[in-house]
């Protein structure tokens, strides 16, 4: 993180805080598990899409996990940290292996689905600690991961237009240098 400029680091921090915020504020009583994955994957994607840094998404996940742990969100305690970091790592890996990731809806959906599927590991770990029956444990984890994947796919679909718009404004690039003031100055010069 020492190599990352402070501005980009703060942006990643804000993405992490947004993940926590939506987890707290939008407690949707949909009676469907995994809906928190929508915002988690969306902001993890945004973090990696806006900041050209290899571990941006994992770092955002780590910050979100630590924040959630410190603020006492959820019931899992320290298990919350890998629950945020693992999807971030998948997104980072996806961005590394697929250079056109943030331009393609299909690739975004694919990576988002894999990132959301990490919920399987986390649910399995939690159930293992609870001492559940192996068969029930696998079924429960598969169900949780399946619903999380559905919401993750929606997040993958929604993230592409956002990054496209930010790129059109010249805010996303290598590195993320421009700000609102730069845009206003540019528009002022045109006028």
């Amino acid at each position: 993180m020492t190599h990352l400029p402070l501005k980009e680091s703060l942006f990643l921090g804000f993405c992490a805080v947004f993940i926590l915020l939506f987890r707290v504020v939008l407690r949707l009583h949909l009676h469907i598990s995994g809906h928190a994955m929508l915002f988690t994957v969306f902001f993890l994607f945004l973090a990696r899409g806006c900041v050209d840094y290899r571990g941006a998404s994992s770092l955002t996940g780590l910050l979100a996990g630590l924040g959630a742990f410190a603020l006492g969100l959820g019931k899992s305690g320290p298990i919350l940290i890998p629950a945020f970091v693992l999807p971030g790592m998948v997104i980072d890996l996806g961005a590394l292996l697929l250079p056109g990731l943030f331009r393609s809806r299909t690739l975004c959906v694919l990576v988002a689905a894999i990132a959301s599927a990490t919920k399987f590991i986390m649910t399995l770990a939690q159930d293992l600690l609870l001492g559940m029956d192996k068969k029930v444990m696998v079924q429960h984890a598969a169900f949780e991961a399946g619903t999380a994947m559905l919401f993750g796919i929606v997040a993958g679909l929604l993230v592409v237009p956002v990054i496209r718009r930010l790129k059109a404004y010249g805010l996303v690039g290598q590195p993320m240098r421009k700000t609102l003031d730069d845009i206003q100055q540019k528009e002022g010069k045109k006028e």
């Binding site: 993180m1 020492t2 400029p5 402070l6 501005k7 980009e8 680091s9 703060l10 942006f11 990643l12 921090g13 804000f14 993405c15 992490a16 805080v17 947004f18 926590l20 915020l21 707290v24 009583h29 945004l46 806006c50 910050l63 630590l66 924040g67 410190a70 603020l71 006492g72 969100l73 929604l158 237009p161 956002v162 718009r165 930010l166 404004y169 805010l171 993320m176 700000t179 609102l180 003031d181 845009i183």
Partner: protein, 185 residues
């Protein structure tokens, strides 16, 4: 010398609470304000929902409201590098400002005819309006705020020294020293 202003730290206005599948509200129309430095006692018979009221206090909200930023940084820097701790604490501290910005953007966009009110979100076709009229401007504001904070921190020579060695309100007594993480021993 002057009288310190009384600031509401926690405020509930007409607060109600219900459990899923419980049928009806267990708390109804609660209005209270707890000010900085005040101490209150919550009393009632068993089952009168004292715990429900206490649990309704969002732990995060209370934490961010009552703990100074320097203390949050200090807490995080016990387990994180100082830079990461500073970022986490700063972002939490600036969250209310960002939320106010978000609210003002939302109000402006609604006045312009954007279908981004909660009732409009029932229709998935309006979700794109949320993306274009709310999410994108909020992300631009976030980038702008990050740039401004970074500039302000740089102007105060942030990052000149790797690890902070003293914190506001912490007095180094005789015989005490700071370890390499800046924590008093």
């Amino acid at each position: 010398m002057g009288v310190e202003p009384m600031i509401d730290v926690i405020r509930f206005n007409d607060f109600s609470y219900a459990y899923q599948d419980a049928g009806g509200q267990v708390l109804h129309g609660i209005t209270l304000a707890i000010r900085s430095g005040e101490c209150h006692c919550l009393g009632g018979t068993t089952g009168s929902c004292k715990t429900s009221l206490a649990l309704a206090f969002l732990p995060g909200m209370v934490f961010v409201k009552i703990v100074p930023e320097a203390r949050i940084v200090q807490m995080f820097s016990a387990v994180l590098p100082y830079r990461m701790a500073f970022i986490m604490a700063t972002c939490l501290n600036f969250l209310p400002l960002l939320l106010a910005e978000m609210k003002s953007i939302q109000e402006g966009q609604v006045l312009r005819g954007a279908k981004i009110l909660p009732k409009d979100l029932v229709n998935p076709l309006n979700w794109l309006d949320v993306i274009h009229c709310l999410v994108v401007p909020v992300m631009i504001q976030t980038m702008n705020l990050s740039a401004q904070i970074a500039l302000a921190a740089k102007a105060r020579d942030f990052g000149m020294v790797g690890q902070r060695t003293s914190w506001p309100g912490e007095v180094k007594e005789e015989g005490q020293s700071f370890n390499n993480k800046g924590i008093m021993q």
